[in-house]
Each structure stands twice: as C-alpha cells, then as structure tokens.
Symmetry: D2
Subunit: 427 residues, 4 copies
C-alpha cells in the first residue's frame, strides 16, 4: 500500500512541477490543456475540446486575439501537441469521459488549471526556485495551487482507468480554464457539460493547516461576484490653450471611483466593491480622453450583487454624463452563490476517516468567490447533488501571494479522496 | 443757488431716510412703489403699474404667494396707498412719464429701489442707527444705496416737472424692482418699457471716493450672469435599518457642488461659478430626501455664461443620475453683458465739469453684474444710446455689508446730473 | 381585579395624555420632570435632581443656554413647580428611591421621558388630535412612546408605594432625560446612579403586534453609535470679484460628505454612516464661510464604532485641509453595545405567562440604538443583572413618524409587569 | 548669393533629417549632443559639456538611471562619439563659444534639441516617412521642430566661424536639453551659462503661416508653469476579505484630481491646471496601494503659479490625509514668465526687412510655456537684453501632433536671421 502511495505521490509531483514551470493564465492554458488532453486520450478517455465544451458567447475576460495567437505559438515551442491545439480552436480546457458502459450514475470532478499574473521570486527560501521548477514565464505564476489540481486530476484519471472494470456508470473529469477572475465555468455550464451529472465534486487544496492534511467536507459562504471592465471615452484637448474643448475622461472616472465606494450598505447582508485598477491619460498637458477601470463587486447573495451592479451602473452613467464622455461596461468575470448539497457531507467525512485524516471538518466559510458555483447550481437544478470541499495542507504564504507554495502531500490525498468517492458511488 | 442745493438735498435726505426705515426686498417693494407712484402722480406724471410695465412670464426669483400677501398687508399698515396697491396687482415697480407734448426725443432714467436681506446693526457708529432711521424690518436693510436711488429719482422728478415748460420730448422715469439678484429688469424690458427710448441712463451711487463726489461717465466690464436655484429630490429612509432604500439627495448635491467648481476655464475669457447656499436633510438618522442649492454663474461675455450654464446643467443631471434623484433648475435671476454707448461719454463729462466734480473719469470696470444691461442692450438694439454711470462718494463699508452707509451729498449731485442731462438733451 | 386594572389604566392614560400634550425634547423636559418629581415626592419617594444625578461633563447634545432659559419660563407658565425647577438647576431627569429599610437587593427601572422634533398632524385620523390631547408645542411631539413610559413609571411608583410593606430592599426609579439622540444615559451612569443596583430593567413599548399585547424578554443586537456635529469654518469672499480669497467651507463639507459614505466596510460586521443634515452658506454670490453637518455612525460592536469614528475624523480633517478651513467635531450623542443578562429571561417569561400575554418571545433584534446600554453595561460590570425588554402593542405608524400612536393598554401591562418583577425579586 | 542660400539650406536639411531619424527625448539627447559637440569642436568652437553647463541639483524630470544607461549604449550603437559621451558624464546639452579675442559684447543663441514621446505615422502623406527619414526610435519623434533648431544652430555655427575675422566680442551657442516639459533651462541658468551675456536670442520655427516665411520679433504672454509628479502610497489589502485594512491610494488620488480642478480662479488673471495622467492599482480584487499622477499648473504670471501650487499642495495633502496615505510631490519641470526686451524689436524687424520676409510682426502671444524664459530673465537681471522670436512657416499639423512637419525653408531663414543679428551686433 505504502508503495502505491509513493507511486501516486511521485507521479503527481512530476506533473505538478511541470505545470508549475509553464504556468498559463486564463484562456491561455494551451500547453496545459494539450498535455492533459493527450494523457487522458492515452488512458482511454473520450476527449472533448474547444466548442464542444465552451459556449463562446458566455466566455468572459478573454485576452486579445493577438495575445492568444502569441501564446499558441509559445505553447507549440513548449511541445504542446499541434493536433490537439487545432481541435481546441483557440479555446482552452478539456473534458475527459470514462464510460464503463455499465448502467449507473454519472460522477463529475472539476479541476481548475490556470495561473496568476505574479512574478515568482528568485529566492532560495522559495521551494520552486530552490528545486528548479519555478516559472519559465516571466510575470506568470501558479500561486493558488491549480498546478496541483491539474496534476491531481491526471493521476486520479490514471488510477481510475485502471479500476474501470470494478465500476459502473460514468466519470466526467472537467479541467476548467480561467477560474481566476471567475471567467471560465459559466461558458462550460452553458454548453451543458454537467447537464447529465448526478454527483459533482470540486476540491481546492491549500488554506493552511497545522495538523498535516485536513478535509472540509463542505465549503460555504461563497461571495457572489461580478468583475467589470469600465472604459470612459472623452475628448483630448490642450489643457492650457483650449481647456473648454476637452471632455475629461479622468474626471469622469475619478467621480465614479469615489461614488462607487459610497454605495450604501444593504440590510440583507455584506457587500463589497473595489476599483482595483485605473489608467487614464497620456500626457500631462493634454486633457485625458480615456480612462480604463478594472473593478469588482461582491455580495453575500446573488441579489446583493444585482443591487451593487445596478447602483454601479447608475454611478458610472452619471459620472460619464457630468463630463459628457461615453462609457462602456464589460462583464469580465462572474460567480454566483451556491450552497453545496448537505447529503454529500457524510460521504466525504467517511472517506476522510478511512484515510485517517487528522483534521476533518463538516463545513467552513470561504471568504471569497469561485465559479465552481455555476456547476453546483446547475447540477442541483437538474436534480443532482454537488459539493465543494477543501483539502487543507500547510502553505508557505497566503494564496495569490508570490511566495505561495503548498505541501505536495495534499496531492496524494486529493487523488485518494477522489478515488474513494468514485468507488463508493459507482461500485 | 446754494439755497436750491440745500432744498434739493434736504428733500432727498427725507425721502432716503424714509425708504431706509422701511426697506423692502425684490418683488416686495409695495410701500416703496406706492409712495413713489403717489408722488409722481401728484407731480403730474402719467403712472404705469403692475402688468402695464411687467411681463409676468419674465419675472424671476419672485417670493411665494403667501409672502407676497403678508407683505402687502404690512405695506398697508405702513401707510401704503391701497388704491395704488390694487393697481399694482401684486407686482412692484412703477414707471412715470412726463410728456411735454412738444416733439422731441425720449430720455429714460432707471432707478432701482429694492433692499437686501441683512440685519442692520444697532451700533452708535452706524449713522442710520445713531440718527434714528435704521430699518424697522428685521433682517432687511438698504445696504447698496437703492434707498438713495429712489429718493434721487423722486426729487429729480419734482424739479423736472417744474422745468417742464423749458423742455421738449418725453422723460421716462423707471423705478425698477428686484435689481438685487438681477431679477427685475428683464420683465420690464420684455414689456417694452424702453422700446421707444432714445437716450437711457442708469446711475449707481457709492463705490467709495477719497475726493468727495466723483463721476464715472461709463461703467464697463459687466459680468453676464445667471442665478440658478437647484433642488434635488430623493427618498428618505432610516439610515441604519434600510440604508439601501434611500435616494440620497445630499450625496447628489455634494457631487454637484464639487464638480460645478471644477468646470474648466474657457479660453475666451474669465468665468465664475459659486454655490453659495446648500441646505439638505432633516435629521441625522434619516437619509436626506431633499437638497436645495442657490448658485450663480458669470462670464465676461454672454457666450461664456451659456457655456457655464450648459456645463452646470450636465453636472447637475449627472450627479442626480448617480443617486437616482430628481432635480429641478429654476432661473432666479439673469443679467447680460452690455457695452454702454461711447457717444454719451462727452455729455456726462461736460455735466460733471459744469458741476465742478473733483474726480471725473471716462470709464471704469464694474467687477459685478447689474440687470440695467437689459435696458442698455434693448435701447441700443432699437437705435438709441444708453450708458451706465457711477456717482462716486465716500462710503462707510463695502456695498452689501451691513455697515454700509453713503455720503448723502451724492443724492444732491445725482439729482443735478440728471437735471442737466435732461435739459441738454431736451432743450 | 378587573376594577384595579381599569383604575391603573385610567391613571396611566391621564398621565400619558398630559405628557403628550406638553412634549419636551431632550434636556428641556422641565415640565415633565417637575410633574414626576412632585408626584414621586408626594408618594413618599426620596427625590434626586440636577447635579445629584447628572454628571455635567458627560452631558451631550444640550441646547443653547438661551433655549434652556426660554423653556424653563415656558414650563413655569405650564404649571411646573418652581421649587423643583430650582433644585434641578437647569438639568432635567429625576430619580426616585423607595427604601423599604428591610435588607435586600436593589432593583432599578429606567423610564425615558423626552419627545421628538416633529409636527403633530391635525388630522381626525390621528387619535391624539381627534381626542384633543395633541401637542401644544409646535414642532415637538411624542412619537416614540416616551409619554407612555413616563406615565407607566408614575403609576407603577404609586402602586409600588402601596405595596411597600410587603417588600424588602430598595427600588430605584430612573426617569432619564434625552434618550433621543442617545444623549442622557451616559451622564447618569457617570454620576453613579446605578452603581449599587443589583437588578436593572429597561422597557420600551410599541413596535407593533398583531396579537394584542406581547413581551420580548430580551432585546439584543443594539447598534453602538455616535452622533457627531461637525462645523467647517472658512472665509467668505465675493465669488466673482475675489474668488481666490475665500476658504470654501461648503467644498470642504461636500468632500467630507461623499468620502464619509465611502469609508470601507469592516470584516468584523455591519457598520453604518449617515450625514443627515447639511447647512452651508448665506448668499449665492458669497463663498460659504460656514458649513454645519449632523451625522451619525453605527456599528455592530463598540470596536466598529471606534473604527468608523477614526475614519470619519481623518476624512473630515483631510477635507478641511484641502480648503484651508478649520473644523470642529462635537459628540452630540453616544450609545454602546450591551448584551442583556440571560439570567433574567426566565423571570420575564414567567411574568408574561402569569399575565396571559398572547405573544411572549425569548429575544428579538433591535435594529437601532438606545443609551440604556450604558446602564446595562455598568450594572453588569458591578456584578448585577440587567436586561432590556419590549412590550409589544399595536401602533398606527412606525416609531418617529408623526402619525405614530400606540394602544394605551400597553401602559396597563407595563405597570403590571414591573410590579410583578419587583414583588418577585424583593419579596 | 542664391548658390550660398542653396548650400545653407542643403546643409541644414541634411542635419535636420539626421536628427529627425534619431529623435531623443529630454535628458537622453546623447547622440544629438555628441554630433553637435563634435562638429562645433571641428569648427573651432570651445566646447562645454556636462557639469560645466548643468547644475545637477536644478535638473528636473530626469529619467531613471537605468534608462539613461540604456540610452547611452543606444547612442554609441548609433555612432555617438565615446570621448564626448565620457565628457558629458550622463548629462546632455552642449555650449559652444566663439571668441573673436577682439573686445566686444557677448551674444548668445538658444537652440533646443529634444524630441517627444509620440509614434511617428507610417503614412505616405507624412513627408518624413515618404522620404525615408522618419524616426528609427519607436515611440519617439521630433514633432515640435527641435530637430530643425539643432540643424539651424549647427549651420549657423559653421557660417559664423567663417566670418570670425569680421567680428568682435563673443558668440555663445547654447544647445539646451529637455525643453519639452520645461526641464532643462533652469539647470543651465543656475550654472551661469548666460551670466556674461549682453544679448540673448531664442527662436522657434513653425506655428503655421499662409504667406511663406514670417517673423515675429517678440513673443509674449508666456504662461508660467510647473510640472508636478505626485505619488500617493497607501497599503494594499484583499478588497473582499479585509477591506478595512487597506489605505486606498486610488481614492486619495481621485479626490485630489477632482478638487485640483476645482481650485478657484484668481482675480489677477488666467490660471490653468491639468492632471494629464493617472495610474493606480494592480489587480481588481486588491485595494490600490499606489497612485501616480502627472500634472501641470500654469498662470499668466509667476504669482499665479505660486497661488496654484499652494492650493494644489494643500489639496493633495488633504486628500492624502483622508485615506491615510503618504504622498510625494516632485517638481518635474518649471518655466517662468518673462517679458522680452523691447529694445531688440527694431533690430529684428530690420533683419526681417532686409531678407524681404513677407510677414513681419512686432509681437504675438504664445499660448504656452517655454523655459527659455529662465535665460531671458537672467540676462535682463544682469543688465543685458533678451528676446524670444518666432520664425513662422507652413506646417502640416499642430505642434506636438504626430503628423507635424514644417517647411524646411524656415531653416535657411533661421540661419540667415541669426547671422545678420550677429554681424550687426558684433561688427
């Protein structure tokens, strides 16, 4: 048994470190997708790619065409499979299906695969640097464990395929692109990826733990959120010679920023707003004709996000009117609230106990957002059960910090938990 | 001659001190109008009142109906003539016409008659208080010399009527209501009061002088201006229990205030803006549902006022939109730019020299606004000549300060200047 | 028994309607205090007044000296006892002590007595108007039931004094001034009014009820709050002639208003802020030299109020600096959070059941603030037990609305509940 | 004579097109300076470089050390003289002195040499592109004619050296770095470059002309200006999880932007302000910890710039205080007002007439700023005469527009005008 554990762990570590070396941000996971798809294919899974799993109209926050092209070329240079890339048709993410052909339920697992725009530190105290698997992509880094998720998914796929004969029903492995910025899940859900799923599981590793490996059966308290990109377009003019001819996009944006933060609280629950980025103007003696804002809103429930969005739109429209500018609001990301199915809690706790995990919790609050909520809600709507769990493990810095690293043993337990769940549900 | 000077001065002082005792603000000059009308009538002038001289649709900044009614009753208690009040039909101001029946040109003089909302000081250093003619109306005071203008106009009317036989043509004496806040002239001009006037004169006393009495033949550089009353109407709500249900009129107004002051300068010339008064809300724990602003805009020319007005309207509309309030903008006053007729300068200088005035100036800049500009522009449009002059005299404090008082000798010279002008033009 | 109920109710109604007729706002309850003190004295209570019960340095939101003087004269004209007024020394509120001289615990009851600045409607649908006991004081009105609290306290005092022989220990009746705006309790607590109290009760009537009379044993979830009066002092200047010489207090205030509302939320819990009133400026052509704001902040705990206060002070200081104005922040009211003693819940529920109240609840959230929390916290600090309860009854409009009226039967049950509590604790 | 004109024009065009090909922005004119210095040296001029002519403490708006290093390497690759570069010691600009050794006055000419951050269009309609001399430096372009100024200065230097024998006194040719953004002149003046100058001339080509070549003897009405770089430093925090822990640099900056634009006008004359660039924040879910603003202020006189600067500093300090950020204000450029010496007007008009220029004007208003004013003021302070002239010629687009190009014939007349001036003053 220990031998098998070592084998699983080693395989997972190998994958993880490779993914860590070549991190790719949302909608640019060409190399990652290609490697996963190729491996799943090799293991006998049916592979779905591109428009088979992505509803293009529902894609949010996708980079510019030129950036996509550049990254495809980059991925090819990094040994991505060109055949598979062609099938992807510029859209990342892959779904692998293991059909036992024996009648039975369908179980789905979500693994997110994208990285973040962060500079990985060249510091001996940072393990990926010390052990030589730190990012080869300047300014991009896996700092939220999705490299681990992808690795865990692949090793799970392998051991699952070996156990195929023992199982009935179907297993669907969803390797989701663009979870960061909550941009990818909605497009998969809209395409129907989980429409026939009876049981859905999403898991996230990390979060810190002083007791080795832990398991939270059900994560709850997700913030619903919308990510908005706002552009104000005015008219430039020489600020000294013709001040009255300009339409000042920066003044419009500045008013918007302040008043967005002044949206009143709502008696139904907590809300949040942040304008995290503002860029405006080109030259100190020219009235700025353009201002670009990246912002987000959140709420304890979907209704509160709707309230914040309505207020925000009004404030942006009003600020724009004040300075006679034009404006555009683009939804660059979205996650909803969803409440995992309590019926799956006992199953997870049982699995955790069988694995002798030292820290098992029924539930715990997430103080953030994840678009896995779209999958959860859809599965529940169609009569299935869905849950979001956490595999707790020691981490070296908070998620999204560039010193983030996690205890790779979590990968082993991730694979084992998923295997046990599947075997219990599909035996 | 000296005796006649004394007589003129004494009569003017008597009138002036009576008007000073009973100051009346714009559109409430019921007692003042009644006294002037009665006296003009006694002197043989044809009298025009109410809708004969006021275009009601062009009236700006008129008080509430109830305030008007109260002030009519007050005026009656202060010996206003009820017959005349009836003819006034709630509208103040009076025009007196002296028709010599001999063919000749028409000369018009404008005298403004309204007071200010100021508390007159009870201070022995303040002459009106010391000599017992300070205001009987709490919170109202003549602090811009219009009491003197009215007095000057009446004594001028008397001596003019005595000289009637020497003259040809017609003299029109315009006692204008509501010059403060530039609210009255437009309504008289729209009614055609100066449509047939060949020569028009407006004079203002005061401005300070270290050399006894002075004369500025032509005042120039008037700011065009608009006075705007702005109301934001939102929705109140308990600020702790239901913060999201309010529509915050104070937040809308606060944004408007700041951004109004940020309207860019115009390369054509100086502009000004001021929100001078803001009142909002009723209780500290209630979201304010109403905010009222009193503001003004000015510009070196009419075009600049138009520019400022357009910008202001946009900012108010935008601020209102931000907080989902409704708003209303009412024009409470207006003056235009006008440039006096240079052809009249020599006449005024000649008159000043004949009177041995120690300080005679060709022209001087007004750093403010006066709606006499409506008369000036209209007279010029119809082919006449019009000018605005200043009778300089020592003053005790700046205009509109509640310690303002002027050297009453200015009244004597005001009467004499007007008499000489008329005799020269209509002999 | 029914007879006694009728007697109690009638007495309470008489008092209540008298207090309703002569409503007095915080720190001006001269007539109310005088009547209560006189009656308590008549009933044999020891009476404490003025500086005996009020720590002057802790008084908040007290009106101007001149207003206090005027109201004392008014109260005298309304038959307030001059002897008592003298003892009050311009400070309202009264404490009556019934000492049984038998050893035993001390039980205290808080009754607040002040009214609100509201215009009582002259409308036949409004019972106080219909039955002729509506406010004789223009712009002042009891619209939160404190007239009922005072009445309830007095009738309770009477029946308690009749039962004196059956009791041990001491009863302290606290008639607190200035609860509205949370201005009065702190000064009483600082003076030590509840320092020796073993059991403390505060009750509030109203809140609506569809089932006749109800009882909430423990009110919880009080917002801590601070009420702040903020003044910006700048420098006036003629807005057209000398715009650069002004120091614009309205611009300072407008910036403060917007940014106060933009204070970020706190992850510890709900916060609130409201600038409810702003008055600035005197004339549309003068740069405003003064702006006065009335605001409040709240938080789910005392720490959050501290956080909001620190942020608010910084924003006010910064806004003031921007426009070179001076500013002053005065604390005009304050309430803290306090959590009633659960040990007293069973006692209240028992009393409610004995009285067959149809709607008895263990606890309920207050969505507001009450400075009774100062008493509660102090009693608990000294080892006693304290609780805040609600006597639910039908109301005609929300509290603080000028159509507010309550079912007077609540007064009967208020008296009975207090009597039963006392008898159980001091028998 | 025509032949000499052709020769001059051809030489000037050659230089100009070379400089146009290799444009260098302020403080990075390494190649330009090197070429000028080498040529002046060849012509027999005494050469001053680096700290000989630049007061380092007075340098404004200099790029980062790394950028300077990169550009020196770039210049070397573009055939800049390494010997000269060494003498420059990282500081650009060069002064050439022609000393006739015959006693006589000193005449100085200022030529500015820097380019702008603009993208030159690849468009056949744009002559530099069509004729193959458009910018080799991406994002940098000569669009204000300084390439022409440098060329004019060099050809003038050549013909002057040929005429050396006819002259007395000294000629000082000042090739000033960093005129754009008004960053370079002050440092040269502080170093004493014009301390011994009796006559100073600065000329600018362009401005458009419908009549071939024109000459404005005296440019006046320069705006004084200051260029300010402002940085707000706050503290980042996760916007959803810990909103209260951030110190929001973007909110501080947004308040500053709006209120900077609301600085009241000054009765002494026109003022201007512009925040032309704002960059803040890094990620939409993080509270921005940094905001960088590039702004400028201007005024009709130095006093007004002082007024604007004081107001701006107060507003920035106040905005910063509101959000508890730190801030830094760096002066990145500065020009003063200066009034050219009227005594030099006749000389220029005479020269213009001798050259039969079709459009000669006594004076004309500049609607902008130029730091040549520092030279002018200094020369005048020391008893000399100084003037700023314009050589009008057809242009293809406004100055600072990337389609700007000028009629190169202006270069010929620039050289001729300077030669004639020198010969008249030093014969």
């Amino acid at each position: 048994m220990d031998n098998q554990y070592n084998e699983i762990l080693n395989k997972a570590i190998n994958y993880r470190r490779d993914f860590h070396r070549y991190p790719e941000t949302g909608w640019l996971e060409f190399r990652t997708t290609s490697i996963i798809a190729k491996e799943l294919s090799r293991l006998g899974y049916e592979i779905l790619l591109g428009k088979e799993i992505i509803d293009e109209k529902s894609v949010m926050g996708r980079p510019l065409e030129t950036v996509i092209k550049e990254n495809i070329i980059r991925a090819i240079n990094e040994r991505a499979d060109e055949e598979i890339l062609k099938k992807m048709d510029c859209l990342t993410g892959v779904v692998g299906i293991l059909d036992t052909k024996n009648p039975g339920p369908t179980v789905a697992f979500r693994f997110d695969i994208d990285a973040l725009e962060l500079e990985e530190p060249e510091d001996e105290n940072h393990k990926p640097y010390k052990y030589g698997f730190s990012s080869r992509h300047k300014g991009v880094m896996h700092a939220c464990g999705h490299d681990g998720h992808a690795a865990m998914g692949l090793v799970f796929a392998e051991y699952l395929s070996k156990a195929k004969e023992e199982l009935k029903g179907k297993v669907v492995l969803i390797f989701q692109p663009a979870e960061e910025g909550v941009r990818g899940a909605k497009a998969m859900v809209k395409k129907g990826v989980v429409d026939d799923v009876d049981y859905f599981f999403a898991m996230h590793i990390g979060f810190g733990s002083t007791k080795d490996i832990g398991l939270v059966a059900k994560s709850k308290g997700f913030f619903a959120t919308k990510k908005l990109d706002v552009t104000f377009k005015g008219k430039s003019s020489h600020a000294a010679a013709y001040p009255h001819l300009g339409k000042n996009a920066l003044l419009a944006a500045s008013n918007a920023v302040i008043n967005l933060h002044a949206i009143p609280p709502h008696s139904e629950g907590q809300t949040r707003i942040n304008v995290g980025v503002l860029h405006a103007g080109t030259s100190r003696n020219i009235i700025p004709d353009k201002a670009i804002m990246q912002m987000e809103i959140r709420g304890e429930n979907d209704n509160l996000v709707e309230y914040m969005k309505n207020c925000a739109e009004r404030i942006i429209a009003g600020s724009s009117k004040m300075y006679e500018t034009e404006y555009e609001i683009v939804e660059a990301g979205s996650a909803i609230c969803a409440d995992g199915s309590d019926e799956l809690i006992p199953l997870l706790i049982e699995v955790g106990r069988e694995l002798n995990l030292p820290d098992i919790r029924v539930d715990s609050n997430m103080n953030g957002s994840d678009d896995a909520t779209y999958f959860i809600k859809r599965v529940q709507e169609k009569g299935g059960k869905a849950i979001y769990s956490q595999i707790l493990c020691p981490i070296t810095a908070p998620h999204h910090n560039n010193y983030f690293d996690f205890d790779e043993k979590a990968l082993l337990y991730g694979v084992l938990i998923n295997l046990k769940i599947t075997k219990k549900l599909l035996k």
